[in-house]
């Protein structure tokens, strides 16, 4: 990657963070922690990696995204808005009556959302189905699957992982958002799945651990060609990344507050944006 490309992705990631916070601010509360932790990933996917056409969101041979941790909707919505799938102002309708942007991703409602998620675990199997369907129909495209590290406590996740590896579904890329936290606190205190990477390797994946906030490293991992093993990326990330107050809040799964709280977060992000542009 050139320096310019890296900078462009970093700027895009910041815009996604700003859009995410603005989206949640419009409602006054929302799943901010797990949305911010995937902002860099989404910037790399939609900024460089994925073959998509915002003017034709249903194009059959597009690359697809399944955000199985469906509560990260606000980050995905911000990304799609910035890519032009729908007007930016739509972000301010999050969870309002009649909205197209519900808490959890919904393929029937939102242009650019490829799969409905929200019941944790289920997105993994549907991503397998998408990738398998593309393979059966001879399409040259990939599906990217984002799974929460807490979500990986669901047995269905491992059923889908087993299938992915056993059927050598190399057009499906697994990404575990390893931000170490779930709703009730730290994964290690709730019900620890242990070494994610070793588990994926044992199933037969080509598994790597990557810094989830380093766009260059993410790009490298996401563009690596899968030979005979599917790729699993264990994304080492921080829940709430990019907004100090969120990162430092223990219970940052879903946060609620007045407009001043959100404005404070936005000020920090805009400061970073200005510094980057300077």
């Amino acid at each position: 990657m050139t320096k310019e490309q890296v900078k462009k992705l970093q700027e895009f990631a910041l815009e996604i963070r700003i859009g995410t916070v603005e989206c949640i601010k419009s409602r006054g509360f929302g799943h901010v922690g797990g949305s911010l932790s995937v902002a860099d990933l989404l910037a790399v996917l939609y900024g460089e990696v994925m073959n998509v056409d915002p003017s034709n969101p249903k194009k059959e041979d597009r690359d697809k995204l399944v955000c199985s941790k469906g509560h990260a909707g606000p980050a995905v919505y911000a990304t799609l808005a910035l890519k032009g799938y729908f007007p930016y102002e739509k972000l301010f309708t999050l969870n309002q009556p009649g909205t197209d942007l519900p808490s959890h991703c919904d393929r029937k409602k939102t242009p650019g959302i490829d799969m409905t998620t929200g019941s944790l675990g289920q997105g993994t199997s549907t991503a397998v189905g998408l990738a398998l369907g593309d393979r059966l129909q001879g399409r040259d495209c990939r599906t990217f699957l984002i799974v929460g590290d807490g979500e990986a406590e669901e047995g269905q996740v491992w059923e889908a992982a087993m299938f992915t590896a056993a059927k050598k579904l190399t057009n499906l890329v697994w990404i575990i958002d390893w931000n170490k936290k779930q709703l009730d606190g730290y994964i290690k205190d709730v019900n620890d799945p242990g070494d994610y990477r070793a588990k994926f390797e044992a199933f037969g994946f080509d598994a790597v651990t990557v810094d989830g906030h380093d766009v260059e490293k993410l790009y490298e991992a996401l563009t690596k060609k899968a030979e005979d093993k599917p790729i699993a990326i264990i994304m080492d990330s921080v829940k709430g990344k990019g907004v100090t107050a969120v990162e430092q809040t223990m219970a940052n799964h879903s946060m609620k507050g007045g407009q001043e709280m959100f404005d404070g977060w936005l000020a920090e992000l805009r400061e970073k944006q200005a510094a980057m542009k300077a």
């Binding site: 409602r27 509360f29 469906g70 969870n95 309002q96 009556p97 009649g98 909205t99 519900p102 808490s103 959890h104 919904d106 409905t116 998620t117 929200g118 019941s119 944790l120 675990g121 807490g150 979500e151 406590e153 669901e154 047995g155 779930q182 709703l183 009730d184 994964i187 205190d189 709730v190 019900n191 219970a251 799964h253």
Partner: protein, 313 residues
Amino acid sequence: MEIVYNGNQDSRLYKAVIGETIDALMKEDEKVVWLDADLRGCSGTAGKEGDRYINCGIAEANMIGIAAGLSASGMKPYAHSFGPFASRRAYDQAFLAAGYAGNAVTIIGTDPGITAAFNGGTHMPFEDMALYRAMPEATVYDITDVPMLIDTLKKAKDMPGVKYIRVPRAGSFQIYADGSSFTPGKGVVLREGTDALIVASGIMVKEALEAAKALAQEGIECAVIDPITVKPLDVDLVREWAQKTGVVVTAENHNRIGGLTSAVEDALIGMPLKFGHVAVEDTWGEVGPLDYLRERFDLTCDHIARVVRELRA
């Protein structure tokens, strides 16, 4: 039964009541064990310490299976998740490992129906009562207020079989006096009347009382029954009041298929009655504020009154 409803919101949150009641039960009975699926923060048990508080993580099917095994070993398990995951997600485990195998498990599904509000359609169970009603020997509660919740949690401890308790997390309106005691299968007549019968459960009980109040001003006197348990349903009581009134309307925060409406219809088959319902019309859930969803799905006192009026016209 002393009815204290006065239209004021109860200051106690259901989830705090769950946390306090379970903690008290644990102290009183060393067999009590609480299982949660990464939602202790939503069940009011967060911060309560002890090795009988078990966080199973986001793995509801496993949790219900564990609860069944705990019961077989002599423990008294309570297991909690949001309504959809405490029902659909773990149904086969609840059905076979708990119900069929004869294990006693109390399953608490929070935020039923439209009370899932901002979590949206994926989290909004309109079918949980239908699932548990279809399970032989299960007991199904649609919680009406805090006194009923406390009594239900206490009694469930030593009851056999699967007990499914659907209850919102947030606030409620108090209907029954503190310390009230309920019997599964025994409904409560909240109000007497000879012109129509409204059978309502859960959040719809308050709406039914408001509808009855409004209708009384028009000279229509409604009886209102809270069945307490949707299964077993107090068939005798419902038939008795249906007979007296000739017009029956059900009100539930659930799909009209499989829940209270179905149960009451089943109980009244063959009786010469006019029958109506206020329920979700076999459709999916949707995201939004609770007040919006009430209107969106027509789960209001105004709608109950309208249905009663139409049937009597």
